[in-house]
């Protein structure tokens, strides 16, 4: 069942990439949206929509990171830190922890703002660094943030985190135990993230990012404020992650520091790499594929193996192997990802394409 939804979504994405007709694209998007909104009434169960809601959160995160890595060309290896900041915003302000029970909807925006603020705070001193160095600094930041949440036990519940988070309400109606509200909110979140991503890519700011990615010195000479543009990428990307964090925490009704480690950052980078950095639709496909493998395919193979061979192996610790294999395999054999955008494909197949055109 889950594969039906995932495959429909992926097929729609591929079709969008293949069609060049604007009207055709719009039609596909609308049909897909209606399908994803209506189909749950007839087909599926809570378990399926729980996985799909998680998948949708990851799509949002990947779209956010895509702004930083894909658009502005800045490798952020600590992106999970902003996810943590969003989740802890909800965890600390909508739970018995401080007796604060701020509304879920307010916290969505507050978390976006806080994550953006921390993105800017991290970015301001570090965005002068180039390439690998920036990547490592962000990695360091990504390690520090969960560690701080873990250490400040008095405020954050320490290693155990905070449990029994508030169940969100919608005009007085509690979400209850149903996962459907999260599914719909996350769908809406994806729609918004896609819209914003597309706006940005086609905008003055998006062109400035392209210029910075391609040639920072030439970009400077065009009068582009490099630091400001990079900060904008960091802050906007982080805000997507902050919103994802709130959704994630509210659905799980729990936050703990071990949910936001380096593995999460690498998982999201893997989604981008798999789908094709910089390409909005490719990123969606990459994150759907990886989430489905993680939360549906692997467990199923696992139980199949166990049932067949009467074993109790744990394939869940193959996750890292899969991320690693994706990163290495794609970089070596198809660096533009499964669904690349025009620019990145050209960039990564420099010699080949130039020869073909000559």
């Amino acid at each position: 069942m889950i594969y039906t939804y995932a495959l429909v979504a992926i097929a729609a994405c591929v079709a969008i990439e293949r069609f060049h007709n604007r009207r055709a694209k719009t039609t596909i998007v609308l049909v897909l949206a209606v399908f994803l909104a209506v189909a749950p009434r007839f087909y599926g169960n809570d378990a399926v929509f729980s996985v799909l809601a998680d998948a949708a959160v990851y799509v949002m995160l990947a779209l956010g990171l895509n702004i930083v890595v894909g658009f502005a060309g800045l490798l952020d290896l600590g992106y999970a830190a902003f996810f943590a900041i969003g989740a802890y915003t909800y965890g600390m302000l909508a739970s018995p922890q401080f007796g604060l029970h701020l509304p879920f909807w307010v916290l969505l925006f507050l978390a976006a703002a806080l994550a953006a603020l921390f993105g800017a705070l991290l970015g301001a001193p570090t965005l002068r660094l180039h390439g690998d160095y920036l990547a490592i600094v962000t990695l360091g930041f990504g390690e520090i943030v969960p560690q701080i949440f873990q250490n400040l036990t008095k405020y954050t519940g320490g290693p155990n985190g905070i449990a029994a988070l508030d169940v969100p309400t919608f005009f007085g109606h509690s979400f209850g135990a149903s996962v459907m509200p999260y599914y719909y909110i996350a769908l809406f979140g994806i729609a918004a993230a896609l819209w914003l991503s597309r706006n940005l890519r086609e905008s003055r700011l998006g062109r400035a990012w392209m210029a910075i990615r391609e040639d920072e010195l030439a970009a400077k000479h065009a009068g582009i404020d490099i630091l400001r543009s990079k900060l904008a990428a960091f802050a906007i990307g982080a805000s997507f992650s902050g919103i994802g964090g709130v959704l994630f925490a509210a659905k799980l009704a729990l936050v703990s520091p071990d949910l936001f480690g380096f593995q999460v950052s690498v998982l999201i980078v893997s989604m981008l790499v798999l789908g094709g950095m910089g390409n909005i639709v490719g990123v969606v496909v990459g994150s759907l594929l990886l989430t489905i493998v993680n939360s549906a395919l692997l467990p199923q193979i696992n139980s199949l193996v166990d049932a067949t061979f009467h074993t109790t192996v744990d394939l869940s610790n193959l996750h890292f192997l899969i991320y690693g294999a994706i990163l290495v395999g794609i970089m070596l054999f198809r660096p533009e990802g499964l669904l690349p955008n025009r620019e990145r494909r050209a960039e990564l197949h420099h010699a080949g394409e130039a020869a073909a055109d000559a």
Binding site: V69, G73, L75, L77, P125, T126, R128, L129, G131, D132, Y133, A135, I136, V137, L139, G140, F141, E143, I144, Q147, I148, Q150, N151, L217, F262, V266, V269, V273, N317, L318, H319, F320, L321, Y323, G324, A325, I326, L327, V328, G329, M331, L332, P335, E347, L348, H350, A351
Partner: protein, 303 residues
């Protein structure tokens, strides 16, 4: 005072291990401008190889008298060879074809390799730390207020001997000179007849060998090996390399000892749970305020 000296000894011991690993980062970065993210896992691999040999020999009852010295030597040599070959193999299979790729591609690949290695080591050795055979006798020696174990002395001595050997190797040997030439200008080096591929491969081999030594002494020092050890140790060592000035061999050693001391004293003074924060804060501060490190030189951007 007693506690201070104990932490000092501790920090030096940790620092020796970090310095050995840091040298691997620095050598590779110096020549390829690549952060070999998998380097920490090469260190872990070395640890487990040494551990395996020692466990095997102990089970065979071979670790007595002269057999003990031979066994320890065998474990050390095996760790060196295994790590060196692994590191060179990674270069050959993964990094070599990315030399002309866009800048982020090799780093992303290196992270992928790191994840693969970690997972394979986990599949091989399990997800819990494995105790390292306690074969080196460890009587405590007293120097005034300072109390150190024989193991600590062995660890630090082995590390220092290795580093001194490396220093002379890079300064004096033909290969060392080739390495420095390739690091400065790959095209020019190849014009004067240096085999660039071979030099880079040898650099990875040497960096891996150093990680092997670190794997052995780290196992002895921490008393265990764990599949994720390389991640934390690797990041600390990388921080050390950056602190000293990446690409600079003396800098990596200095940085290693400083980070070791920082870790041991921050653990003592503010608690072990803050040592990660302390180390990474140093990393960020150094990169922001003095990206060339303590001993590095700043180079202007070429136009």
């Amino acid at each position: 005072m007693h506690e201070f000296l104990a932490q000092l000894a501790n920090g030096v011991e940790l620092g020796a291990i970090y310095a050995l690993i840091a040298l691997g980062y620095t050598l590779v970065y110096g020549i390829l401008e690549l952060i070999n993210f998998a380097h920490g896992d090469v260190y872990t691999f070395g640890s487990f190889v040494a551990l395996g040999i020692l466990v095997g020999l102990r089970a065979a009852g071979a670790l007595h008298g002269a057999g003990l010295v031979l066994g320890i030597t065998a474990a050390l040599v095996a760790a060196i060879l295994a790590s060196a070959l692994l590191n060179a193999g990674i270069e050959r299979l993964a990094y070599r074809r990315l030399r002309k790729a866009p800048r982020l591609a090799p780093l992303i690949t290196a992270i992928g390799v790191s994840f693969i290695l970690e997972n394979l080591i986990e599949l091989w050795q399990g997800s819990a730390p494995v105790p390292f055979p306690n074969v080196i006798p460890n009587p405590q020696l007293q120097f005034g207020e300072l109390e150190v174990g024989v193991q600590q002395i062995v660890v630090v001595a082995l590390a220092i001997v290795t580093m001194v050997a490396l220093h002379f190797f890079v300064q004096r040997s033909k290969l060392g000179k080739a390495m420095r030439a390739v690091a400065q200008d790959r095209d020019a080096a190849s014009l004067v007849g240096i085999n660039v591929d071979r030099t880079i491969a040898m650099t990875f081999l040497i960096a891996g060998a150093l990680a092997g030594v670190a794997g052995f002494v780290g196992g002895v020092s921490f008393g265990s090996a764990w599949f994720l050890n390389g991640f934390g140790a690797g990041l600390r060592a990388f921080t050390a390399a950056v602190l000293g000035g990446i690409g600079n061999i003396a800098g990596a050693m200095l940085g290693g000892f400083l980070i070791g001391l920082l870790e041991s004293f921050s653990t003592w003074l503010i608690g072990g749970q803050w040592s990660n924060v302390a180390v990474f804060s140093v990393l960020i501060l150094v990169l922001v305020f003095r990206p060339s490190g303590l001993l590095g030189e700043t180079l202007p951007e070429k136009v």
